[in-house]
Symmetry: C2
Subunit: 194 residues, 2 copies
C-alpha cells in the first residue's frame, strides 16, 4: 500500500467527499470517485482496501479539514452545564449538514454490513462523549433532571442529536437548520435541566 500521506490519496479523499456531498451520500460508486480523482479504479483499491475503508477515511479527513475539534472547543470551555449543553448542540448540530453526505453513505452500508455498522458506531462514539460531557456538567451543577440517570440522559440526548433525527426533521419534515438548532436546544433544556 502506498504512503499514508500521498498526493493521490488526498485527491481520492477529496473526490469522495465532493461526490458524496453533492449526491447526498447515494449513488456514488468507486468508479465515479476514481474518475473524479483522475485515477484508475484500481488505484483507489491501492489506497483503500474496501469502500468502507474509504468512507471511514473520508469522515476522518473531513473532521480534520473542517476542524471539528476547534469547533467543539466552546462547548468544552463553557462555564456551566446549561451553557455547555447549548454550545454543544450548536456546534454538533451545525456540523451535521456538512458531513451528511458521507455520513449517509456510511449509514447505508451499516444496514447490510456488520463491519460497517461497527465502524459507524465507533465514529458516533465521539458524539456520545460530547453528550456525556454536557450531561455530566449538568450533573455537577446539580441541574440534571431527576427523571434520568446520567447514562440514560446521555443516551436520550444522543438520540436527539443523531444524524437520523436531523435527517428526519430537515429532509423529511422540511425544517430549516436554524429551527432545528433552536428547538433542539429548547427540547434538551426542557428534558434534562431541572
Amino acid at each position: 500500500m502506498p504512503k499514508i500521506n500521498s498526493e493521490t490519496r488526498n485527491r481520492i479523499l477529496k473526490a469522495a467527499w465532493q461526490l458524496l456531498e453533492s449526491n447526498q451520500g447515494s449513488g456514488v460508486r468507486m468508479s465515479d470517485i476514481a474518475k473524479r480523482a483522475g485515477v484508475s479504479r484500481q488505484a483507489v483499491y491501492l489506497h483503500f482496501e474496501t469502500r468502507l475503508d474509504l468512507l471511514v477515511a473520508t469522515t476522518l479527513y473531513l473532521d480534520e479539514v473542517k476542524g471539528i475539534d476547534e469547533r467543539l472547543a466552546p462547548s468544552r470551555t463553557a462555564p456551566d452545564g446549561r451553557s455547555r449543553l447549548t454550545a454543544f448542540i450548536d456546534a454538533w448540530g451545525n456540523y451535521i449538514p456538512e458531513i451528511y453526505g458521507v455520513a449517509k453513505a456510511l449509514m447505508t452500508l451499516e444496514a447490510t454490513d456488520i463491519v460497517a455498522a461497527e465502524a459507524w458506531k465507533g465514529r458516533m462514539q465521539a458524539v456520545r462523549h460530547g453528550c456525556a460531557a454536557a450531561i455530566h456538567a449538568l450533573e455537577r451543577d446539580g441541574q440534571l433532571s431527576t427523571a434520568y440517570t446520567v447514562e440514560q440522559a446521555t443516551d436520550l440526548l444522543w438520540v436527539l442529536l443523531s444524524v437520523r433525527s436531523w435527517e428526519q426533521l430537515i429532509r423529511d419534515s422540511g425544517w430549516s437548520q436554524a429551527d432545528y438548532i433552536d428547538h433542539m436546544q429548547t427540547l434538551a433544556h426542557a428534558a434534562f435541566v431541572r
Copy 2:
C-alpha cells in the same frame, strides 16, 4: 397475477414475516422466503412484483394480524391530551418491537431505492397522524408548550417515536423495552406539556 387472497400468497407473507423477525430484517433473500413458504422462487414473483412490494405487503399483513387499530383505540378515546399522549406512546412504542424485523428490511431498502423511500415514508405517515392527534389534543386542552407550533411539536414527537430512535436506544444503547416506554413518556411530557 393470482388472486389477492390466495392460500399461497398468505403463506409467502407469513414466511417473510417469520424470517424477517428472526433475522431482525437483514440477510433475508427472496429465495429464503420462497423456500420457507414451500414454493418456488418464481412463485413469489407471481404474487409480488418486487421485493419492495412484498415487504410493504408484509407490513400491511402484520398490521392486520396484530390488530394495530384496536391497540391504538385506547389513545383515541383518552379523556384528555396528557393521557392521550401517554396512551399513544404506550401503544405505538410497544408495537415497534413486533414489527422491527420487517421495518428494518424496509429501512434498508429505503437507503438506496427511491420508491422504497416513498413507501416507507407513506407507512410512517400513519404514525405521524397519531402524533398529530396527541399534540392536537394537548393544544385543545391549552396544555401544549408555547415553545412550538402544533406542526413542530408533531414533528419532534414523531422523531422521538421513530423506529430509528427505538433502534438506537434498545439495540445500540441496550435499553429495556420498559425503560424505553417509561422515559419516552417522561421526556414527551417534559417537552410538550406546559
